[in-house]
Each structure stands twice: as C-alpha cells, then as structure tokens.
Assembly symmetry: C2
Homo-oligomer: 217 residues x 2
C-alpha cells in the first residue's frame, strides 16, 4: 500500500518507519520540500521511503495519515489539497493539545473535535479517527504493554474503518482489540480522554501504558 | 462510621444501601425533610438508615458523600452547610452532565471541574473525587466486571484519600486497584473521561464495564 504520513515529528517518523518495515511505500510529508528531518528519515529508512511536501505525499498515496498536531491539522491537510484526499482513507491520530500559560488545553473540546473538523473540511475524504489514545511507540508496537488493551476507531465510512482495522492488525492490534465507537462524532470522546492519559503519564513517568476495557460477558 | 449520602437518586440510594449493609450508619439527605424516596429508602433499609435534609444528614455524619448531579452539587452542599462539612471527608462521585438540545454536555469542562469547584467553595472540607468513572452498580460491586479494573482518587488531603481508599476496599476495590491521580485538579481528567464512558455504554448497551490501566512492568 502507498501511504502518505503528514508530519515529521516523532509521531510521523515512527508511524512512517513502521509502515516501511511492514513493506509499504511511504512518503513523509512536510510543509516545505527540503525539510531536513524528512530528508534524513527518507535516507535512513529504505528505498520505499520518500520525503516530499504535504501535497506530493498525499498525491502519491492511497492512504493518508494525519500525524501533525490537531491544532494545525486543517492547515496541513489544506496544503495537502482536497483534490489529493478525495475518496482516500484519511487516518487522524492527532490530539488538539497545546500548553497555554503552563496549562494543558484542548481546543476544540466537547462541542467539536479535530476528527469532525477534518471530516467537515474534507467531505470526500474517508476519515477514521484512531490511535490518538496511546503513545506513538505503543501505536506501532502494542506488545510494549501487557494485556488485551484496546484502541478505538470512529468514522462515517464502515469500509474505511474495516481497512484501518486491517492496518491496525499489521501494527499488532488484532481486530478484537479494536473497538468501533461509531461515527466521527465519537472523536470527541477519544480526544477528551487525553487529560486522563496525561495525568496517568505524569504519575507513571512513562508512556508505555494503555487501557483495557473490561466488561461483563 | 456515620455517613451522609446527599442525593436520593439511584446513585445515592445504592451507595447508601451498600453502606448500611456494610454496617455503617447512613443518613440519606435530600432537599426537603419529607422526600418520599428517602423516607421509603430509610424504612426499607434498616435501623441504621435515616432520611433527613441535606443539613441534617451532613451534621450527623463523619463522612459526607455527594451523590447529587455535578451541576447541582454546590447548591446541595450549600444547603448542607459549610459548618457541617468543615474538617470532614467529602467524597464527590458526581459528573457535570446534562442533556441540552438532545446533546450530552459537560459543564464545567476542561478549565475547571466539579471536584475543584466543591473544594474551592468548601475549603475546610477534605474533598476526594472518586468512583465517577463507573456506574453505581459497579461502584458498590466491582466484581460485576471481570478483571483487575481500576478506579481513581484525587484530592489535596493525603489522609482523606487514604481513608476513602479504605472505604473503596469495603466496596470491593482493593488498594492496588485504586490509582491516586494527585491533587483535586485531576478531577478534570476523570470528569472528561465521561464522554468515552457514555460512548462505550451506547455501544455495549449495558453499564457493567470499566477500564483496566495496563502498563509495562
């Protein structure tokens, strides 16, 4: 599969690297053509790895992964170009986090979500929100955390969620550990989980954790 | 121990009933002296069960449990009276939920929490936020859900959290399944988990579930 991973931060580089290891073709997209992080990543990665602009990455891809921060996602996807996103699966792993005056803040929160904003702005993209509830190392290697812990998918397109569930299986998340939360509106629920994730992270001092949803049979 | 449980809804009656079963003295507090639900509860419960106003309940108690909705908590606690709360452990199990125009909304959200509001309004109470992340049946009978799933405590008073952790053990939550999230500010994190809880509830169609936090050893 040909993937575009938009964003050259740790999330983008780690997801892109894992996809290359799995045999996929990946273009790591950044704002500028000569982003040194992306260039270095592409050189280090493999023949199947390229660096390019957001637009070049999205144009070449069958599946686009948004790995820039939630607050700049619409800008990055706008630069990628609606014409390069239409009809494609658009995986959003972002969170709308920022530190303001030393406080962590979510924006949007509760009455909207990044996932919904992306779907509204790009109505022809098949948006699936997933993986934002775990650290990137856990995203691509869930065995770092013991137990049958879960990730979530939400989105309007059942076929897209199915295909993303298959991608998650490649990362090591079997389908039974992927909980479908319904439409993209549920992005609010998974984005609002972040304060609890961050509070646990502060307490544990490490990011190798996740939640397992336990329920009566 | 002498408990006041403020609120005669399902949460209050269930918590109060379980506390009586455990051998505690419980006054179920309501706005008016002759609340029929509270009277009926007290009659059905046992000699150790009484019904009274918020103020009567709080005055008689060593530990006060806020089991009214988060949005009316300050009103109920104001009626209970600061003079009956000072120095006492005040357990807040509430969530700031309301349905508005068919949408579930939290208020406050993110920049504040019910737990913090209560602690600010009653600075001499020893507020501990806990149990708001599970259904009331699970609160008092965690074995309804399989696995080593967790509840959280947060608050400024370490001794109060210790005592509440002992109460949780009476309910069936051993100390290792009670995660201390630090100060009362973390009430934001557990209150913002509610949209995910509700989304899972809609998906499962039943409330007998909870999360287990799994982490690398």
């Amino acid at each position: 599969m040909r993937y575009a991973v938009l964003g050259t931060g740790e999330v983008g580089r780690t997801l892109g690297g894992r996809l290359v290891e799995l045999g996929h073709e990946v273009t790591l997209g950044s704002r500028s053509k000569d982003n040194p992080l992306a260039q270095e990543w592409a050189t280090a990665a493999a023949a199947r790895a390229r660096a390019g602009t957001f637009a070049e990455a999205a144009a070449a891809a069958e599946v686009v992964i948004n790995a820039v921060g939630g607050r700049v996602a619409l800008d990055a996807l706008g630069a990628a170009g609606a014409e390069h996103l239409g009809g494609k699966i658009l995986v959003d792993v972002s969170n709308p986090l920022a530190f303001e005056d030393g406080e962590l803040r979510l924006d949007p929160v509760e009455s909207d979500s990044v996932g919904e904003r992306i779907q509204r702005a790009f109505p022809h993209a098949r948006v699936v929100k997933t993986l934002n509830t775990v650290n990137v190392q856990v995203m691509v290697d869930p065995a770092r955390v013991p137990g049958e812990h879960h990730v979530f998918v939400c989105g309007e397109d059942a076929g897209a969620k199915e295909q993303v569930t298959a991608l998650l299986a490649e990362f090591g998340w079997p389908a039974k550990r992927v909980l479908d939360l319904g439409g993209i509106r549920s992005a609010r629920a998974v984005e609002m989980y972040l304060p609890l994730w961050l509070t646990l992270f502060r307490g544990f001092g490490k990011a190798d954790f996740n939640i397992e949803v336990r329920r009566a049979g």
